[in-house]
């Protein structure tokens, strides 16, 4: 066994199994004492082959498969897919259905942001805030359950509309819940911005300027905290967002504290939107008919997930099954914002900085092969399978 003193680098491995990680990922931090001198990330522990899986399922079956890409932002995946398929099939979705989709998407944003606030506080050792936010998050989980019947995979969408309707009783329950949550969120804002020990862990940590954020392609609240005004709900409104305009929340300083503030302010905006949608809910049908066979075409569908831009590319070949579905999730765009800024931070900061971008590992993992300019190769299914087996060996 070689002595550690003889090794040039002292590497602290985090993951794939580690108390800080709720999902598997592997990070290696080279440290000098407590200061980080190098960082690397290795993903791929929960690759499920979903993109390939979609090619052997029908358009309708894929809705259920794609909703299960992520357990936190499940609705937006189904929404992005449904919007894309409707674009391919030239179907006009009734406005009431679009409003309900938007309502559920915003409620999901509440649950996701509160979940993140708790996790980020826990990573910083502030377990009281963690317990409090997760207790209050139950409110919105219960509301979603009352509305859709499910707490996690709401399964609201069908191709061409939605399954569930909102009646006045449910709307009142949601209004009451949102009022309660708004009070609580104001309290959390106070805690996050005034608690000295918490400020000591977040202020000035992991700072990223607007230019750097732009260059690294940062999306979502992580980018908005650095001053990027990038929000699909505003830039390219989808579903019912043209009816209910959104104010972009941006920050300036780009540090960890700003990411907390931006997300909490986004919650205020979400509460306002939910009230607006409930007050001005369009009337009419919930679904439109959609053909089983989607005409041959290509479509791009973008939505704003709680973590940032979610991108779907859909290609149909005129049959019941898609030719290709490509998913680009926001977490994968944001990794560089963590790894590139790790050097110089303290080891104790890393769990918080990692969680500061709200990583979601399950939607991250994919197989990417970069071809050399000289040639391309076609892999057969068997070769692909063998590659996977060797990768995990």
């Amino acid at each position: 066994m070689e002595s550690l003193a003889n090794q040039k680098k002292f590497i602290v491995p985090i993951g794939p199994q580690h108390p800080a990680l709720k999902e598997p990922g592997h990070f290696e931090f080279t440290v000098d004492g407590e200061i980080i001198t190098g960082a690397s990330v290795r993903l791929g522990y929960v690759h499920r082959g979903i993109e390939k899986g979609t090619e052997s399922r029908t358009w309708i079956q894929n809705l259920y498969l794609l909703e299960r890409i992520c357990g936190i932002c499940s609705h937006v995946h189904a929404l992005a897919y449904a919007l894309g398929v409707e674009k391919l099939g030239n179907v006009d979705v009734p406005p009431r259905a679009q409003a309900i989709r938007t309502l559920v998407a915003e409620m999901e944003r509440i649950h996701s942001h509160l979940l993140w606030l708790g996790v980020a506080a826990h990573e910083g050792g502030f377990d009281t805030l963690f317990m409090y936010t997760w207790r209050d998050r139950e409110t919105v989980m219960d509301l979603l359950e009352g509305l859709t019947g499910n707490r996690v995979h709401y399964s609201v969408n069908v191709l061409g509309g939605v399954k569930v309707d909102v009646d006045e009783k449910q709307a009142d329950a949601i209004r009451r819940g949102v009022d309660f949550l708004e009070e609580r969120t104001k309290y959390y804002m106070k805690v996050v911005t005034t608690d000295e020990t918490f400020l000591g862990r977040t202020r000035g940590v992991g700072k990223m300027t607007t230019e750097q954020a732009d260059e690294l392609g940062t999306v979502g609240p992580t980018g908005r905290a650095s001053g990027l005004t990038r929000d699909i709900r505003v830039d390219a409104p989808y579903a019912a967002y043209p009816l209910y305009p959104v104010q972009v929340v941006t920050g300036t300083s780009g540090d960890l504290l700003e990411r907390f503030i931006v997300r909490i302010k986004e919650l205020y905006e979400t509460y306002r939107l939910i009230r607006l949608i409930l007050d001005k809910m369009p009337t009419g049908e919930l679904t439109a008919r959609i053909p089983r066979r989607i005409p041959e075409n290509e479509a791009i569908s973008r939505v704003e997930a709680p973590r940032g831009e979610l991108f779907y590319f859909l290609k149909s070949n005129g049959s019941e099954m898609p030719e290709r579905i490509k998913v680009r999730t926001p977490s994968i765009c944001n990794w560089s914002s963590v790894i590139n800024f790790a050097v110089g931070l303290k080891l104790a900061d890393m769990p918080m900085v990692l969680s500061g971008m709200d990583p979601c590992f399950s939607c991250n993992d994919r197989l990417v092969v970069v071809n050399r300019p000289t040639g391309s190769q076609v892999w057969t299914w068997e070769e692909l399978r063998q590659y996977g087996i060797n990768y995990y060996r």
Partner: protein
């Protein structure tokens, strides 16, 4: 003030040292965990949970990892627990007269209490696990930061009582005004120092689970871990007793002990749930920039006060 004396062997093995001390350590751990849980809006453990944990750990196989010095690996937990139990003999546990007492036993007690932290630090440094090594560095760094201010704050009452003997300070504290009112700064620093000593949040950087899993004790399992944990529980009881005896009007009987230590534990549990974890550099900065200065100011105030009182 009336005190009760017991035969030496019983004091050592059963009451108030030995078994009873271990049991009370578990009870105080439960009270602490339950209080923190309630403050955090959780249900918290049942009353026998610490005991159940301990029995389970003691019954488990102890894995000695490769790359460690096996003798040291096995001895350190025993030594740490032994030091904590020995320290109890000089302290007025449960309101009884200390089993043993001599001039200057305050210093010996404080060093025996530090053995625990030192043991944990050495245990971490003994292994080759990276989390343990980082944890050991942090444990020892923290030891050097809180130890001096904590010592200074216990010195305040000692100077007032003109004695370095814990039993005499206890009697003195019982007969005068509670020193929490005459030396409030000293009390605050002593209380926070005790939290640092026990590695309670927000001073739990040495065992921050989201960074370094379990710090210095990452490689420990079974018996060794059980001994370290119960040693820490014992240290909690002793630490509470010391602070109560010095600052909260001394201890004369078990009822007084129970009420005063539990109130202090309630305050400590509240402090534990209020803050985010401090980074190790923040901990050191806090102690040397604020803690040590405050303790010195308190000490100066006492010395000047005594000087004026004499003139």
């Amino acid at each position: 003030m009336t005190t009760i004396t017991l035969p030496a062997l019983i004091i050592l093995l059963i009451f108030p040292g030995g078994l009873f001390l271990l049991a009370s350590g578990l009870v105080y751990e439960w009270v602490d965990r339950k209080l923190v849980a309630r403050f955090q809006n959780r249900v918290g453990p049942r009353w026998f949970q610490p005991l159940a944990d301990m029995i389970k750990l003691l019954a488990k196989e102890e894995i000695i990892p490769t790359g460690v010095h096996p003798g040291l690996f096995v001895t350190l937990p025993v030594a740490a627990l032994a030091a904590a139990l020995t320290a109890a003999l000089y302290v007025p546990m449960f309101g009884f007269t200390p089993a043993f007492s001599f001039r200057g036993d305050l210093v010996v007690t404080l060093y025996l209490l530090s053995m625990m932290t030192l043991g944990i630090g050495l245990a971490g440094a003994n292994t080759v696990d990276r989390f343990s090594l980082v944890g050991a560095t942090r444990t020892l760094t923290q030891l050097f930061s809180y130890e001096a201010p904590f010592l200074l704050t216990l010195l305040g009452p000692a100077i007032m009582a003109s004695s370095w003997q814990i039993s005499q300070i206890n009697v003195y504290a019982h007969n005068v005004w509670w020193m929490i009112f005459t030396q409030p700064i000293g009390f605050v620093v002593a209380l926070v120092g005790l939290m640092g000593k026990l590695e309670f949040p927000p001073f739990d950087a040495p065992e921050a689970e989201t960074e370094i899993v379990s710090g210095a004790l990452t490689e420990y399992s079974g018996r060794g871990l059980a001994l370290f944990r119960i040693g820490k529980d014992v240290e909690l009881v002793i630490g509470l007793t010391l602070v109560v005896a010095f600052y909260l009007g001394g201890l004369a009987n078990p009822l007084e002990f129970l009420i005063k230590t539990l109130v202090l534990l309630l305050v400590m549990a509240g402090l534990q749930s209020l803050f985010a974890r401090l980074r190790i550099d923040q901990t050191v900065g806090l102690w040397w920039r604020i803690g040590a200065v405050l303790a010195l100011i308190q000490l100066l105030a006492i010395i000047i006060g005594r000087f004026i009182g004499r003139v």
